[in-house]
Amino acid sequence: MDIEIGETMEIRKLLFVTKFEDLCYDALNSLLALRNAALEHVIFLNVIEREKVAMKRGSGYLKEEEVKLKETANIRFIDWAENLFEMGMEVGAYIEVSTLIPEILKVVKRESPDLIVIGHSHKGAMKQLYAGSDVSELIRRTEVPVLVFKHMREDNIVPEKLFERPLLATNWSDTGKKMVEYIKGFKNVIGELHIMHVVKESTLKSPSAHDVQKVRKAERKRLDALCDEFESMGINARPHVYAGDPQKEIEKAAKEYQASMIILGSSDKAAILERWVGSISKNIADKSAFPCLLIPGKKNS
C-alpha cells in the first residue's frame, strides 16, 4: 500500500495481529465501526513464539504443544470469523510458529492490508506482550499504518468508541500530509477530530510576547485551514495549538480532550533518530495510555 498525497485512502482490509491475551473480540468489535468507511475484509494473525514449541533438552520439538496452541487459536478464530461472516464480511486467518515482525511483514506482502492492528499490554515493561521495540521495528519496515491498540479501563475511556474523538498531532512534515490523506478515509466513522500542533520550546525563545503570539497565530491559521479541509469532507474538526515538549503536550491534549486515540506520523528520520534519543511517535505508542495510530513515512527503497 502506498498513499500518494492528494489521494484519499480507503480502509478496506485490516490485519488483526493477536496473542489473545492482549487483543480479543472486544477490540475487534470496536474496529468494526470502520465498516461505515469501507472495511470489508479482516485477516487474523496469531504468531506462536518459537520458544513455546522449541526443542528442549530431553524433549525435542514440542509437536504436541504446537498442535495444541494452533488448535486453541483456530477455535478462537473460527468463533470470531463466524460473527464477521454473518455480517457479510470477508475473513481470513493465519496461525504460524514464527517470529512476530517477519511474520507480520510476510502476511502484509501476501494480503496488502490497509491497516495493521496490534496489541499493547499495560503489564510491566519486562512482561509487555508486544514490546515497544516490536512496534518501532514494524513501523520502520512497513508503509502500512499501524494501530497500537490499548485497553484503557483504568482511565474509564471506553475503547469501543475508538473513532469518537481522535487527536491528530501534526508537525507539518510530508508524513503529516500523508496522514491527513489517510484520515480522510475515516470520514464516515470519526465523531470529532481534534488536530494539534506543538510549537517547540526552542521556537518560543524570543523575549518578545508579540513574537511568540505571532508564532501561535501562524500555526493556528495553518490548523484552521486543515480543519476547513476536513470539514469540506464532512469530518468535524477542531484546532489546538500547544507549546512545549511534543511528547508531553500530545499526551496532555489527549487527556484534556478525552481523545479516543492519538494519530501520529512516523518518519524514517525519526526511526533513525530513535536509536539515539527515542522518537516522539515511538515513545507515545509505547508509553501513552491512549491507543495510537501510527502512519509511517515513505520508505526509501
Binding site: 455480517m87 457479510g88 475473513v91
Partner: protein
Amino acid sequence: MSKKVLVVDDDPDVRSFVVTVLEENQYMPLVAQDGIEGFEMIEKEKPDLVILDVLMPRGSGIRLYRKLKTKETLNQIPVIMFTGIALRSFLKSQKALDEFNGEEVPEPDVYLEKPVEPEELVAAIKKKLG
C-alpha cells in the same frame, strides 16, 4: 477416466487427509491452498467436484463459492463445503451477501462440518459423483 476433485484448504493436514480419501476411492485429486488459487484451478482444470474450506487466507471459501455459483460457465460444478465454520453462520453470511449484492446464490450441495470421518466424506462425494 477418473473424475477430478479439487480440494481447496489452507491446512496441509486436511489437504493430505482428503487427497488420501480421494485416491483410495479412485478419484483424481487436485489441490489449492486458498480462495484465489482455488478459483484459478477451477477455471483451468474444470473439476467434476470441489471440496471447499471456508476460513482461508487470500480469499475465503465463501467468496470463492459465490464467484463459482454466479459464473455461468462454472456454476454447474457441485461443491461440498468442508469446514469448521457452522452451517448456521454460513447461511447467514450468504443471506447478508445476497441482500448486499442483490443476487440469490443457491445453497451448497453438501455442507460438512469438520471433523468428518472418511466414510462420511466418501459418502458425500459418491452422492455427487457416483
